[in-house]
């Protein structure tokens, strides 16, 4: 009879999976959260977990995050490790969360069960972040993320830290920048079109932009979401052309950004493009467009050459090391991840402990800045508020010049001037 066999096969399969899963790290953790390694038995190796999608649709950004983290670990170890803990070296537990939130839960669960990590770094994507942060909260391991959704710090969690600007701030910065341009260059641009892809990133950053624009006296002639990964930007661009927009605020990842830009050229329209970050900032579009990328403007959550970085030799040196090692400039995904690792290292130095809760307390209480890597975040300092958000951070505007994005606004962070002449 089938039932008997079914259950036999069933139990056999369970045992098989148990064996396999067990083999992957059979350390029976008493309570992974309470991992306490005091100075009394200083560890030789301290593990930090890296959580990001390295497969699926978000993999290209995930790789940027990974590169940032790897370099940070190298830098800390090359400088002697955590001296307060006897020179303990950092090591990385790389966890590919996949781009699917439910698989992410399983994968993160696995890492937390089988490895004793003191902190988690990443992810850069809101939906993955939201699905895994409950696990870190439950296990009392601090996690620092560079996803931008506002919801991340609305959960009331104590162990979650977001160092990057919130999505809702991007629209504000774009509009302010336009106002600044209008004033500086006497442009009188009033008609704006806001288009965004219906991904988590697109929705987060464009929410409220319409009201912000209207309040700034701009005329929103088009406000459209479009399906992420669409095959044809013609309809969108036709709508933009029809609306006679002078300025375009697009929010897209790489593929769509390319499509939109090329299609606008085909349709012979050239509104001033003030990109919404993501695809407009990453190396792929630079490679794709070659010299034609110069002049492209976008908002970004972070940039490698903001004044707070270029004016501090230790910080600038880190960005240079990154570029030398990986062959591309330190992106808005890589930078914050790098900084997070350094900040965790600092926490362990200052508290002389690798206890996750003590690390968390240090992160929550400290005002980072100056020459330490908390100063990576513009405007040169970082302090996490009681909800876990770095309240002093704000987005910056960049413009591609000489094949790299340069910070052009706000003035306090700018290291390059806007060049409108190269806009074609």
């Amino acid at each position: 009879m089938t039932q008997k066999r079914a259950f036999a096969a069933f139990v056999a399969s369970i045992l098989a999976v148990a064996l396999v899963a067990g083999c992957g790290g059979a350390k029976k953790e008493a309570a992974p959260a309470a991992g306490s390694s005091d100075k009394a038995d200083a560890p030789k190796e301290i593990k930090i977990a890296f959580f990001n999608p390295l497969s699926g649709s978000n993999a290209d950004a995930g790789k940027q995050d990974l590169d940032g983290v790897k370099l940070a670990i190298e830098d800390v170890n090359n400088a002697g490790g955590i001296k307060a803990l006897g020179g303990a070296k950092l090591s990385l537990v790389v966890t590919d969360t996949t781009s699917d939130p439910k698989d992410a839960v399983s994968v993160v669960e696995r890492t937390l069960s089988t490895e004793k990590v003191v902190a988690g770094i990443g992810p850069g994507f809101s939906n993955i972040t939201l699905s895994i942060i409950p696990l870190l909260e439950k296990n009392r391991i601090p996690i620092l993320v560079n996803a931008i959704s506002d919801d991340i710090t609305k959960q009331g969690y104590k162990y979650v830290f977001q160092g990057t600007p919130k999505g809702s701030m991007f629209g504000q910065t774009q509009v302010e920048f336009l106002g600044y341009l209008n004033k500086e260059f006497n442009l009188g641009l009033k008609n704006v079109a806001i288009v965004y892809e219906n991904s988590a990133y697109g929705e987060s950053t464009s929410k409220g932009s319409m009201d912000i624009a209207k309040n700034a006296g701009l005329n929103v002639v088009l406000y459209q979401s479009y399906p992420a990964g669409f095959t044809d930007a013609s309809s969108l661009v036709t709508a933009i052309k029809n609306a006679k927009a002078d300025v375009l605020f697009p929010v897209s990842y790489t593929n769509d950004a390319k499509l939109i830009i090329n299609t606008m050229k085909q349709f012979n329209i050239s509104p001033l493009v003030i990109g919404g970050g993501a695809g407009f900032l990453w190396p792929t579009i630079g490679k794709e467009m070659g010299d034609a990328v110069n002049g492209l403007i976008s908002v970004g959550s972070w940039n490698w050459d903001s004044k707070n970085i270029s004016s501090v030799p230790e910080l600038a040196a880190a960005t240079k090391r990154f570029e030398d090692k990986y062959g591309y400039f330190m992106t808005e995904h890589a930078g914050p991840e790098y900084a997070y690792v350094r900040m965790v290292a600092e926490a362990m130095e200052k508290t002389a402990s690798a206890d996750p809760t003590k690390i968390r307390d240090y992160l929550a209480a400290t005002e980072f800045g100056g020459t330490t890597f908390g100063g990576f975040f513009q405007p040169g300092k970082a302090k996490f508020d009681d909800k876990g958000w770095n309240a002093s951070v704000h987005p910056v505007m960049i413009q591609w010049q000489g094949g790299k994005p340069r910070t052009i606004y706000p003035a306090a962070d700018a290291t390059a001037k806007v060049e409108l002449s190269i806009k074609k």
Binding site: T2, A8, A21, V94, P101, K102
Partner: protein, 334 residues
């Protein structure tokens, strides 16, 4: 004696073994994997009511899962309705959706039916994305962790979810047995073998198929609610996608379409495969687990279309014998 009580006895022992696993380990990861296996087994059993017994290959079951999951989360996080109630609301809505979907789709056969289920799946996904104010759009909806709340199906340890899911699986299995041996089960069998012949014999195939779909949808909706509680997060891309629908169908197909034990084996194999490849190769060779899925599917179709559970048939089991002198014969049918 083994022959008389054996069957039930073996099942009981195995069940007890499964139930006691959390008592021997508190490795959350292992418990999570097993819970997901149980969940997908149950999903496969639910899918089989329409995909296996009625032989209508649905690649749109994520619709029902999503309806169950979203309903539960929305009722819980926005209106503070406990998931224990929300799950039934979700199930009812899923059943309602199945009527809307079934009615036009059942006019179609074979690949047309499958294509139409895909279309409905995509329609729901697009709607979930579009009406973001209500559904959270691409950002999805999540259940914030607020500690242990058993009455809301929120638990700290995966062990609780493990037992709940095991119990649900057993329930579904029993339900499946009841239905397949009932009259409607026979009608489904007739339709699977030859729909036109069944029709000519007086079986109201339309009604029977629709009933099967409604059962399948309601059960899947319930599971959607449980999924929402276990994972704590939904977004259109993960619960309402064709990928999810394919995973549900895959479990049943790999295990054995139209059998009760099949989905269990299928879920164990498919989930086991995913976990193994993610664990060993995840950070280095991405895409491996899915490539293996694809290969597995093709291999199963070409070599063992009855599914992996048919392999179990090849094992010689001691038969319950009325005539003790009869030699054990190799079983040839499921």
């Amino acid at each position: 004696m083994l022959a008389r009580y054996g069957k039930l006895g073996v099942v009981a022992v195995l069940l007890a073994a499964a139930a006691s696993v959390p008592l021997f380990t508190d490795q959350q990861y292992l418990l999570n994997v097993l819970t997901m296996i149980f969940l997908f087994s149950a999903l496969g059993i639910a899918w089989n009511f329409i995909g296996g017994y009625a032989a209508q290959l649905s690649l749109g079951h994520a619709v029902f899962l999503a309806i169950g999951a979203y309903t539960t989360i929305i009722l819980f996080t926005r209106y503070h309705v406990t998931p224990l109630v929300g799950m039934f609301v979700g199930a009812v809505l899923a059943v309602a959706a199945s009527v809307i979907i079934g009615y036009p789709c059942f006019r179609l056969r074979g690949p047309y039916f499958t294509l139409s289920t895909i279309a409905f799946g995509e329609i729901l996904r697009i709607l979930l994305l579009h009406y973001g104010n209500f559904t959270g759009g691409a950002n999805g909806l999540n259940i914030p962790y607020r500690g242990e709340q058993p009455w809301n199906l929120q638990f700290d340890s995966k062990a609780s979810y493990y037992w709940i899911m095991l119990a649900v699986l057993v329930l579904f299995y029993v339900l499946g047995k009841v239905i397949t041996t009932s009259r409607i089960g026979m009608y489904l069998q007739a339709i699977r073998d030859d729909q036109d012949a069944a029709e000519s014999l007086g079986v109201k195939t339309g009604n029977v198929k629709l009933t099967a779909l409604m059962i399948s949808a309601g059960l899947t909706g319930l599971l959607g609610a449980i999924y929402a509680c276990i994972i704590g997060f939904v977004d259109p891309g993960s619960v309402a996608s064709t990928t999810m629908s394919t995973q549900i169908a895959l479990v049943a197909i790999v295990g054995g379409v139209g059998t009760l034990g099949g989905p269990i084996v299928g879920a164990a194999v498919v989930t086991g495969l995913t976990e193994v490849t993610n664990a060993w190769l995840g950070a280095t060779r991405t895409g491996t687990s899915l490539t293996l899925y694809g290969a597995l599917l093709m291999i199963i179709v070409l070599t063992r279309p009855a599914g992996l559970i048919s392999l179990v048939d090849l094992i010689k089991w001691p038969k319950k014998s009325e005539k003790p002198t009869e030699p054990a014969t190799e079983v040839t049918s499921r």
